[in-house]
Amino acid sequence: MGALMVIFSLQKDQRRKRTDSVEDELELSAVRHRPEGLEQLEALTRFNRKELQILYRGFKNECPSGMVNEDTFKVIYSQFFPQGDASMYAHFLFNAFDTDKDGSVSFEDFVMGLSILLRGSVQEKLNWAFNLYDINKDGYITKEEMLDIMKAIYDMMGKCTYPLLKDDTPRQHVEIFFQKMDKNKDGVVTIDEFIDCCQNDENIMRSMQLFENVI
């Protein structure tokens, strides 16, 4: 009888150890990333030391592991737009920041994107915007791509808007955009058409300078 009890208790321990090993395997795959040193980043971007420090602290606070995956990015971005659904636009933004397409945004990606956006020349900023709109990165913005982006932007407004959002408002907006940008009326907007058109538009030029002093 005593032998039985001993065998019985051993079995229980074995079962527990087996489940432990499975969990351990899963945990070791947690990703941690450390960024390049301050000096390298200073050289790569147009931020100075202090600004990089501030940026990193904020970044690390939200993502202690040093990498942002798409879900975290969506959660962070959605906090700024409580009334609407910012997830689609956050998805496009994430793809624009994730330049090496590895599924997560590291601090380098983040800070280099910001460097273009905040400290870059107008040409670079327009380039970045074109990159954002061109979802499949083939060098042309089609109407479908623009419609997706437009819907994502309108989704962020939510439904409590004045005047009431109608279903074809994004489509109308896309039509207006294409009328302006597509000079040769071939149904797609190339980077040159885009940059040309924006440089001729005062409003756009003025608004590009808007966020210079964000940091």
Binding site: R34, G37, G66, P82, M157, P163, H173, N203
Partner: protein
């Protein structure tokens, strides 16, 4: 490298002098330490509490935050220290890790907070020392189970597109999802009770009539009982067929315990219908009636406690098996002993060993019917040993079963608590609304304030203007600027939820096609806004302006909407544009 090994390296290198006389070839050049500097104290300021340690202590683990150049991001030039805005209590264990090489998990710490700190400082939790690893793992598993429970509860919510079949299945499994399901649940419960009750009453002697002797009720009122039985079986059959139809995996459903119980409960009736003519098999027919008692097991769908009991017994199968086995051994031993002890005495009831089994069982479970009693002295001695050992053998596995039951019961209680904490979900929803509301109503409020500002400028009361403009922090104003840019991009404005509802009502009262053409003339991504209307349903405290009365609609007269007309004359901002008043 671990701290200990690094500390011993100089000794190992010095001891290498012992090889020199024996070596034949020249030795390689030793690596120079270019960064030779005196070890310095580093000050780590964690939320005000200052920790100090040597630089080399931190350098022991170069793949963590503190050991690498990553800490330069947190260096404060003025105070010459590294500032971290984190919890100083948890930091204690992290710094101890650098000092001693062992990471400990403090028991009072919340597991998720601790995990976050470890992730922040780049330390993998696997290196927690053996002394604390068990505790850490247990807490982590508990937390994961809790999160899993939460997720499972969320899955309970109705999916938007469910087929009829899926809805039915869901209604069967969770009766509280709809009223129909609840009604069905109670009806079936009622009929199970009726069925069990009739089975019981059938056998009660119903009182003697003068012509016949005492008869059980079943034989007296055969027709009534037969009708009752038929009705119950019909209901059960219908229920079984409906469940079979709705089940997502019919094969799996047919194999489940509950469905087998259902089948066993209704089958005897049908077999009885078929076999009533044949007299020979009537004995078997009576036996089949016994199976009707299984209908009582159908109650386990209705009772949570029964299910828990059944589940406990299933999960304690090994303990129960052990109990049975040890009891069997003891019974055989004691029965043999008692038989041979009582063999001598005359007219003894212990006629064979199997006959003694009955005595042994009754004695070991301390029942003691007294129909078999030992008469010899040896028999009595062994009989008392038998009863004493019976108590022990039964008492041993019982705590294991009890602890299993307790664990499962508490798990279930936790799930119930979670379900009852729809209150919890309502609380979360309230928090979310408060946060969302505050940021958005803050934004709307600030818009009104700005508008009011401009008007006050017109009327020239400066103090009020200053009051309103100071009420926002830099962060808020930047966030509002962002939301404002989004408004401009889409040429739509954010609105209060309540105002939106009222707006919806208005647009259904009057067709609002007049408004849309003015907005379709949008162009650039950051376009120009054409109309702006501020609607308020409560007047501002210091409103001393002339306001036009609202246009009153029939059903919406309680709406005190104010139109503030502003012309292009305002030079200050580009935000205000001619207002378009909606046609009543």
């Amino acid at each position: 490298m671990a701290a200990g090994v690094a500390a011993w390296l100089p000794f190992a290198r010095a001891a290498a002098i012992g090889w020199m006389p024996v070596a034949n070839c020249p030795m390689p050049i030793a690596p120079r330490d270019h960064t030779k500097r005196l070890d310095e104290l580093i000050i780590l300021n964690v939320s005000g509490r200052r920790f100090q340690t040597w630089r080399t202590t931190l350098d022991r683990y170069p793949d963590t935050l503190l050991g690498s150049s990553e800490k330069q991001f947190f260096y404060d030039e003025e105070t010459k220290e590294y500032f971290f805005d984190r919890d100083p209590d948890s930091f204690r264990s992290i710094l101890n890790f650098y000092r001693t090489g062992k990471l400990h998990y403090p028991r009072y710490e919340c597991i998720s907070a601790y995990d976050e700190e470890l992730t922040f400082f780049g330390i993998i939790p696997e290196i927690i020392g053996d002394c604390c690893y068990e505790e850490y793992k247990d807490r982590k598993r508990e937390n994961a189970e809790r999160l899993q429970d939460d997720q499972d509860d969320n899955k309970d919510c109705k999916l938007p597109n469910m087929t009829y079949r899926e809805t039915m299945w869901r209604a069967f499994e969770n009766p509280h999802t709809s009223t129909m399901a609840l009604v069905f649940y109670y009806v079936t419960g009622f009929f199970i009770a009726i069925s069990v009750l009739t089975n019981v009453i059938e056998t009660v002697p119903c009182g003697a009539t003068p012509s016949q002797k005492d008869m059980p009720c079943g034989e007296r009122y055969t027709v009534a009982f037969f009708c009752m039985d038929t009705a119950c079986v019909l209901i059960f059959t219908v229920e079984y067929l409906m469940r079979l139809f709705a089940a997502p995996s019919r094969y799996q459903f047919m194999r489940s315990v509950m469905s087998i119980i259902d089948v066993v409960a209704i089958f005897p009736y049908y077999i009885g219908l078929v076999m009533t003519d044949n007299e020979d098999v009537s004995g078997a027919f009576v036996t089949l009636r016994v199976f009707r008692v299984f209908r009582i097991f159908k109650f386990s769908r209705h009772s949570q406690g029964l299910r828990i009991l059944g589940y406990t017994l299933k999960s304690c199968a090994s303990e129960l098996g052990f109990l049975l086995f040890s009891l069997t051994m003891a019974i055989i031993i004691f029965a043999t002993v008692m038989f041979y002890a009582e063999k001598g005495s005359s007219s003894t009831k212990f006629t064979s060993i199997p006959a003694s089994f009955w005595y042994t069982i009754v004695t070991m479970t301390t029942l003691g019917y007294g129909d078999m009693v030992p008469k010899t002295i040896a028999g009595k001695i062994f009989g008392s040993i038998c009863s004493l050992s019976g108590v022990l053998v039964i008492a041993l596995p019982v705590p294991v079963i009890v602890s299993n039951f307790s664990r499962i019961y508490h798990q279930n209680q936790r799930a119930d608590k979670r379900r009852a904490q729809k209150v919890q979900k309502a609380r979360l929803a309230r928090i979310r609304i408060a946060q969302a509301g505050s940021s958005c109503t803050g934004f709307l409020q600030s818009k009104r304030n700005d508008l009011l500002n401009d008007l006050l400028e017109l009327t020239g009361s400066e103090e009020e203007e200053l009051l309103l403009s100071k009420s926002m922090s830099l962060l808020e104003s930047q966030h509002h600027h962002l939301l404002h840019c989004l408004e401009k991009t889409t040429a739509h404005e954010f609105m209060d939820e309540q105002l939106y509802e009222q707006n919806c009502l208005e647009t259904t009262v009057q067709s609002c096609t007049s408004r849309s053409p003015s907005l379709s003339s949008q162009d650039t991504p950051i376009g120009t806004c054409c109309t702006r209307r501020v609607k308020r349903n409560s007047p501002l405290p210091n409103s001393s302006m002339h306001l036009q009365p609202s246009h009153q609609h029939g059903p919406l007269q309680q709406l005190s909407a104010l139109h503030i007309q502003c012309g292009d004359k305002l030079p200050r901002t580009t935000r205000l544009y001619p207002i378009q008043v909606a046609s009543p």
